[in-house]
């Protein structure tokens, strides 16, 4: 296969056939022909997605030992564990494209690879756990459901499994918020402060505005992205605003208002201005927790090296005894 990004002349019919296949809604499988740019885009996208899942374990993982009840502790632990699973499924999907998990891990730890900026915000209170489940998992689900139909088979299959597991994540977050909102004054305030902290970062999770997002067009054509950032963002806001109202919490956007002309007359919310400067600041590594997140992952990885080495060595010793016995 050609490893050049530029497609050679004899690849042109293959590329046409590839695009036709995608247009017919057929899946591309690992050994099928694919243009190099498709492979690279997918590796980047799946890799970032996988990294986000595993880094995403940290802000919530913080609260496992401090969860207020046994029931909350068990569901938080199960949820954070699920995120490890999601990372694992996605790394395996990326691996079918020829990139090893080791390489991807090293790129994450060296700071070369990106992950969702949302996880660079801190979780100072228990209410942040509610807010993350409700908003961040909520936003993630919006992003992820269309990906169950994406054109690359292993990615689509991983997403189907992930979406199934995600089904309780947002509900547990919302239930936490609801309980706090119905609780004591301290609890209500804690919930509102957490919503204030997580609202804008969640809205930004869908990525830059369509006009500043150059990759979208090709990705839509290849069906590795099915909606634009702004489409998903608006869908998210429309879903969340009534949920907040229902539990008496206030969305921290004074320009938020109902606009009945949106969505072809079905109506939708117009939101206030997004602070993209803040977004890019965090993406570039200057968010409140960027360093802490990566150094915590790096510490775990470095401290695990002797374990991984031992496992490999034990396996290779056994391998030779198995062979000798044959």
């Amino acid at each position: 296969m050609n490893s050049d990004t530029n497609n050679s002349v004899n690849e042109i019919p293959l590329i046409e056939e590839f695009q036709k296949k995608i247009d017919r809604d057929e899946k591309i499988e690992p050994k099928d022909f694919m243009p190099e740019a498709y492979r690279k885009t997918l590796i980047r996208q799946i890799g970032q997605h996988a990294h986000s899942e595993v880094v995403g374990m940290l802000p919530e993982g913080n609260w496992i030992t401090r969860a207020p009840t046994l029931k909350r502790k068990l569901s938080l632990l199960a949820k954070v564990q699920d995120e490890a699973g999601h990372g694992l499924y996605l790394y395996c999907a990326a691996e079918t494209l020829g990139k090893s998990r080791l390489e991807m891990t090293e790129e994450l730890l060296s700071g070369k690879a990106k992950y969702s900026s949302i996880f660079n915000y801190p979780t100072p209170t228990w209410a942040d756990i509610g807010a993350i489940g409700w908003l961040v998992d909520g936003a993630a689900i919006m992003n992820q459901i269309p990906l169950c139909r994406c054109s690359y088979g292993p990615y689509a299959r991983a997403m189907i499994r992930i979406c199934k597991e995600e089904s309780f994540h947002q509900r547990q977050g919302y239930e936490i918020m609801l309980t706090l909102a119905r609780g004591t004054k301290d609890q209500r305030e804690m919930a509102q402060r957490a919503l204030n902290r997580w609202w804008w970062p969640s809205v930004m999770m869908f990525g830059p505005s369509d006009k500043d997002s150059p990759n979208t067009e090709t990705s839509v054509k290849w069906k590795i992205k099915r909606h634009t950032n702004d489409e998903l963002r608006e869908k998210f806001i429309d879903a969340i605003v009534p949920q907040a109202k229902k539990i008496g919490l206030t969305i921290p956007d004074k320009d938020l208002k109902w606009d009945k002309k949106r969505n072809n007359g079905l109506g939708g919310y117009a939101h206030g201005k997004i602070d993209w400067e803040e977004f890019w600041k965090v993406v570039k590594g200057n968010g409140p927790m960027n360093n802490e997140r990566i150094s915590s992952k790096k510490k775990a990885w470095d401290e695990g090296l002797w374990v991984r080495n031992a496992a490999r060595m034990h396996a290779s010793k056994n391998q030779s005894t198995v062979v000798a016995a044959e």
Binding site: E29, K31, D32, F33, Q81, G85, L88, Y89, C92, E95, S100, R101, L102, R157, A158, R161, D302, L305, W306, R308, N309, A311, R312, H314, A315, N318, Q319
Partner: protein
């Protein structure tokens, strides 16, 4: 500390969802050897009580057909005599 140059092997995981059904592919894991592979497969893919038996096989040991030969491998769809409806049997014979 020693440098790490090699990943552990990738394994494909197959789970039998219920007694009597075939094992179905459900994903992959990394593991250093077969004992670890079975444990990891269980820990990752049977967390919700799915399944009752697990198979693991090294991904590199799977032999797969060439996608370019799809047409020649799977060209039997014109062999209509392999389908029951190809044969006429009187209705009063009953279910056959």
């Amino acid at each position: 500390m020693a440098e790490e140059k090699k990943d552990t092997d990738l394994w494909e995981v197959f789970i039998q969802p219920k007694n009597g059904l075939s094992h179905r592919h459900c994903g992959s894991i990394h593991a250093s050897d077969r004992n670890m592979a079975i444990l990891a497969a269980r820990n990752v893919y049977a967390r919700r009580g799915e399944g009752q038996s697990i198979w693991v096989v090294k991904s590199k040991d799977i032999v797969s057909s060439d996608p370019n030969e799809k047409a020649e491998n799977f060209s039997a769809d014109d062999k209509i005599y392999r389908h029951p409806t190809f044969y006429d049997v009187p209705d009063d014979v009953g279910h056959m």
